[in-house]
């Protein structure tokens, strides 16, 4: 039943994409309906899949080796739940955000349907060929969505970079699947023979999986494609890409890990280290951004880092036999997959709402929007509190589990050095959390509070109802997971057992009980205190903000997002030196001067692009051989043949 429903959901998504291509308006109007129906069907199937037994659905297929077999087990259903939810919410949002009279309306709807349909297929594919094929469809659909505004050069560049990076990852994944096939003699996801993790084949699988899934999930230093692609795509597409597309990489890690009986310590260590680097540098780079969507994109890297370091702690703990710590870490990482999907989508949608109203992604051209757009402001605030991992919302619950696993390592700690790394997780996570808080106070404060910094912002209007409605389920889910995490505990324990067989139960419901009661108490107490302070402050008079003697508060005198972040960014300037363009020397009567500073990406702009430029320059040395004279080519071919013949005769 669950597999059939699941397939129906996927099919409805694809149908919505096809409907967008049919001529005439009526079919185009059906697309959101198909998407919402697909989302509801899919969510029902996931609910069944996470509570019931695994179900398989096999359909006829032509490609040799492949089989159209989908299996909805707890792990697939768990990862697919946010996909269905985000796809439905995104489609409703797009109805007004990317209205039908826009030139690319059909383009966006068609590829959005195909993208989401392929995404859920990747998650449930029981056959490795189907898995790769569906993933390729995801990549291509996402490429076209990123390139939606292809008249814009930055969009085109981001899209090409995304396509190139994705295909490099794909090559590695082909190799992974090939090695899996070589070890199991089957194209299905089957458990590998015991002890293979220590053999060269096993090691190669781990290394290639790290590279391939690392690129797909945007783990540092493989994140080069991510910020640009997230910034260029329409907001609801960014929500899906950041919320769930990058999670496919995490799903891939977990699926592959679940096939092994043991995982080498080195793999867990690598994940842990890369996770910590991604989380700290991701958030530090996010702080330095001026573009709202790029800022959110770097936070995706940060959160992927948190998830991956949770996985790393889990793998290390399991390798050292600390079963309950491993269970806690896996549960935390898995729950963070959901949570990040929810709050990041909420943030991207509310960012889309801001962009819709102000026509700019520059944080420093907005301001004071909370008065003009109260609902969008509330949605962004909920997302911001959740992503900072603050009680009483959902981000806190998953981070708490990862913290507990990391600090819990103290009781089980042996002399092995890899344990030392586990200790590093808690302080790193604390730093990440505090920096994320700074970043979101900056974003929320600069966009929604204070005075408007531009004409557009001053006259912004609240977004249409459809856009606001789309954010409601996401905000409610953030609040529900934060306030009643114990209800999720059985599902998490079940999925954890699927992901990492052989773990003892961590007693999650018991672990989360205390945090849950504090969360509820916080909400109640803050509500009471807010009521009291509002009543007490009702005897009030209004006046302009006191600005130390200046007559009026000038919008330009406000702290901007950049100035707010500057004091922290300067602490991290050793890792990410900013490019500053300032007037060197001003003449006696300065006419016009400009100042600008931006922080380039340390991997893409400082390492990869210079390296590529260098390689291109070296490659020009080989140009002499490419003179365009056919005789010369024939001579070279002949010579090569002779050399090969001689070599084979030796």
């Amino acid at each position: 039943m669950s597999a059939l429903l699941y397939a129906t959901g996927a099919l409805l998504f694809v149908m919505s994409g096809v409907a967008a291509l049919l001529p005439g308006r009526p079919a185009l109007r059906l697309t959101p309906l198909f998407m919402v129906l697909g989302a509801i069907t899919g969510l029902a199937s996931c609910a069944l899949g996470m509570t019931g037994a695994a179900r398989t659905l096999a359909l006829p297929w032509l490609i040799p080796g492949g089989a159209l077999t989908i299996t909805v087990d707890a792990l697939s259903a768990f990862f697919a739940t946010p996909v269905f939810l985000l796809a439905g919410a995104g489609a409703v949002f797009a109805e007004r955000y990317w209205p039908l009279d826009r030139r690319s309306a059909r383009h966006v709807r068609a590829f959005f349907g195909v993208l989401t349909g392929a995404l859920v297929t990747v998650l449930a594919a029981a056959n490795t060929i189907l898995f790769l094929a569906a993933w390729e469809v995801v990549t291509i659909a996402a490429f076209f969505l990123v390139a939606t505004e292809h008249e814009n050069q930055a969009s085109r560049q981001s899209a090409w970079l995304y396509l190139a990076a994705s295909h490099v990852a794909m090559l590695a994944l082909f190799a992974v699947i090939g090695l899996l096939h070589a070890s199991t003699e089957s194209w299905a996801f089957e458990a590998l023979p015991a002890g293979i993790a220590a053999l060269p084949t096993g090691r190669a699988i781990f290394a290639l999986a790290l590279f391939g899934f690392g690129i797909k999930s945007g783990l540092m230093p493989f994140h080069v494609w991510l910020p640009g692609a997230h910034a260029a795509a329409p907001a609801h597409v960014s929500a899906v890409m950041s919320g769930v597309v990058v999670k496919m990489g995490i799903y891939g890690f977990i699926r592959v890990i679940s096939l092994f009986d043991t995982v080498p310590v080195a793999f867990g260590t690598t994940l842990l280290v890369l996770g910590i680097i991604s989380s700290v540098l991701g958030v530090a780079l996010a702080l330095a951004q001026h573009d709202l969507k790029r800022l959110l994109a770097y936070h995706t890297i940060e959160n992927i880092g948190i998830i991956v370091s949770g996985l790393g702690v889990g793998l290390l703990a399991r390798a050292h036999g600390a079963s309950w710590i491993a269970a806690l870490a896996f549960a935390g990482a898995l729950l963070h997959v959901w949570n990040h999907g929810l709050f990041k989508a909420l943030l991207f949608l509310s960012a889309g709402s801001v962009i819709h109203a102000t026509h700019t992604r520059e944080i420093d051209r907005t301001g004071g929007l909370a008065r003009r757009m109260p609902h969008t402001a509330l949605a962004f605030l909920i997302g911001a509190v959740a992503i900072c991992g603050l009680p009483p919302l959902n981000g806190f619950v998953s981070e708490l589990l990862i913290y507990l696993a990391s600090i819990g390592g103290v009781n089980a700690a042996g002399a092995d050095w890899s344990w030392l790394l586990v200790f590093g997780v808690a302080p790193a996570l604390a730093l990440t959390g505090a920096l994320a808080l700074a970043c979101f106070v900056k974003a929320f404060g600069a966009i929604f509070l204070g005075l408007p910094r531009s004409e557009r912002a001053a006259h912004a209007n609240e977004s249409p109802v459809a856009m606001r409605v789309a954010m409601v389920p996401l905000a409610l889910a953030c609040a529900a997971i934060g306030l009643a995490p114990t209800l999720l505990a059985p599902i998490l324990e079940r999925v954890t057992r699927d992901a990492a067989p052989g773990l003892t139960s961590a007693g999650l419901a018991h672990m989360l009980n205390g945090a849950q009661s504090v969360s509820i108490a916080t909400v109640v107490a803050v509500a009471i205190a807010f009521a009291i302070v509002s009543i007490l402050a009702s005897r009030r008079s209004s006046a302009p903000t006191w600005d130390c003697g200046y007559a009026t508060a000038a919008p330009r005198a406000q702290y901007t997002a950049s100035s707010l972040a500057q004091s922290i960014a300067s602490v991290f300037s050793w890792a990410m030196p900013p490019d500053v363009h300032s007037p060197r020397k001003l003449p006696l009567f300065p006419e016009k001067a400009s100042f600008g500073s931006h922080v380039p990406d340390p991997v893409l702009d400082r390492a990869l692009l210079p390296a590529i430029r260098h390689a291109m320059r070296l490659a020009t040395l080989a140009r002499w051989a490419q003179g365009g004279r056919v005789q010369f080519y024939l001579v070279s071919i002949g010579l090569t043949l002779v050399v090969l013949l001689v070599w084979s005769a030796l």
């Binding site: 004071g368 909370a370 008065r371 605030l381 509190v385 900072c388 991992g389 603050l390 009680p391 708490l400 913290y403 507990l404 600090i407 819990g408 700690a413 200790f423 808690a426 302080p427 730093l431 505090a434 920096l435 808080l437 700074a438 106070v441 929320f444 404060g445 509070l449 204070g450 005075l451 672990m511 205390g514 009661s517 504090v518 108490a521 107490a525 205190a529 807010f530 009291i532 302070v533 007490l536 402050a537 005897r539 009030r540 008079s541 209004s542 006046a543 302009p544 903000t545 600005d547 508060a553 919008p555 406000q558 702290y559 100035s563 707010l564 972040a565 500057q566 004091s567 922290i568 602490v571």
Partner: protein, 299 residues
């Protein structure tokens, strides 16, 4: 019931701590100083006053003070002040404790930005920067104490029986030194911030609440006093061994908290504020010191 009594205790006792600090500073400076109970009168006066609220603000402006008073109260419930167990105690409550204060920081800095004033933005930026650097120090301390006490809960950290001083004294000294720096930074005391310099560009906490007035400012003042009390109690609880009898432990902890107040007063009398560029360095030092403590207990 026990929880309610503890809440009342924190609510009532915390402004006294401000009085003790001020009295210490006055004595050191050879002045008579303000009355010991001045903070109580200040808060009472603020609650009777009307307020002036900036035209640019939204509801966030009042959310800040509401959260600022609720968070220290909730956090104080996780401290075992009088009994072998805190009113709220569970594995991982240390993390909830830190993140509650983070929630408070989010709301107070957002409330500061709500006014659109450059001064309050400046204060918010500094608060956010310094708190981010102080956080790892707190967590390194938690790791060390978790290893020493065998539990991940404030109750287990603060109710050790004294044998920890024999087994891990060096690590404890390092943790306490580091946490004292965190206490000074988080509660905006000298050398990180000067609570007395009103309206100067060098301030952090005071400048953030420039536009709050009347009852809302009263909430902030009281909340700040309780936050200071909670941090002092945390450090005293780690230092003092527990007897298990509330009749001994409660006076010991309260006495210890007031003593920490005296020490803060002595620090403030003895040194000036650091230059702002030096502050991150001192906080990183605090983290490193606590990090050494972890290395010591892991050995």
């Amino acid at each position: 019931m026990r929880g309610l009594a503890q809440l009342l205790l924190v609510l009532v006792a915390s402004p006294l701590l401000l009085g003790v600090i001020n009295r210490t500073k006055a004595i050191m400076a050879g002045r008579r100083g303000q009355p010991l109970f001045q903070a109580y009168w200040d808060i009472a006066k603020l609650f009777r006053k009307g307020s002036v609220i900036s035209l640019t603000t939204t509801w966030i402006f009042l959310l800040g003070p509401a959260v600022a008073i609720v968070v220290p109260l909730l956090a104080s419930l996780m401290l075992p002040l009088a009994a072998p167990r805190a009113p709220i105690a569970f594995t991982g409550d240390v993390i909830v404790f830190v993140y509650l204060f983070a929630l408070s920081r989010f709301c107070t800095t957002a409330a500061a930005l709500d006014t659109g004033s450059a001064f309050e933005g400046m204060g918010a930026a500094r608060e956010l920067t310094f708190a981010a650097l102080a956080e790892p120090a707190l967590f390194f301390g938690f790791l060390a104490l978790a290893r020493v006490s065998g539990g991940i809960s404030l109750t287990s950290f603060m109710t050790m029986d004294g044998s920890h001083w024999r087994s891990a004294s060096a690590a404890l000294v390092l943790v306490i030194a580091s946490w004292f720096l965190v206490l000074l930074a988080e509660n905006s005391r000298v050398p990180f911030d000067d609570p007395n310099t009103h309206l100067e560009l060098t301030m952090i906490h005071e400048v953030m609440v420039l536009d709050h007035s009347g009852p809302a400012f009263g909430f902030i003042l009281w909340g700040a006093a309780m936050k200071l009390f909670v941090y002092c109690a945390l450090i005293v609880g780690v230092i003092l061994p527990t007897s298990g009898s509330p009749l001994v432990d409660l006076p010991a902890i309260l006495g210890g908290v007031l003593l920490v107040g005296v020490v803060i007063g002595l620090v403030e009398s003895g040194m000036a504020r650091l230059r702002l560029v030096r502050v991150p360095q001192l906080l990183v030092t605090a983290s490193l010191v606590a990090g050494f403590a972890v290395v010591l207990v892991l050995r």
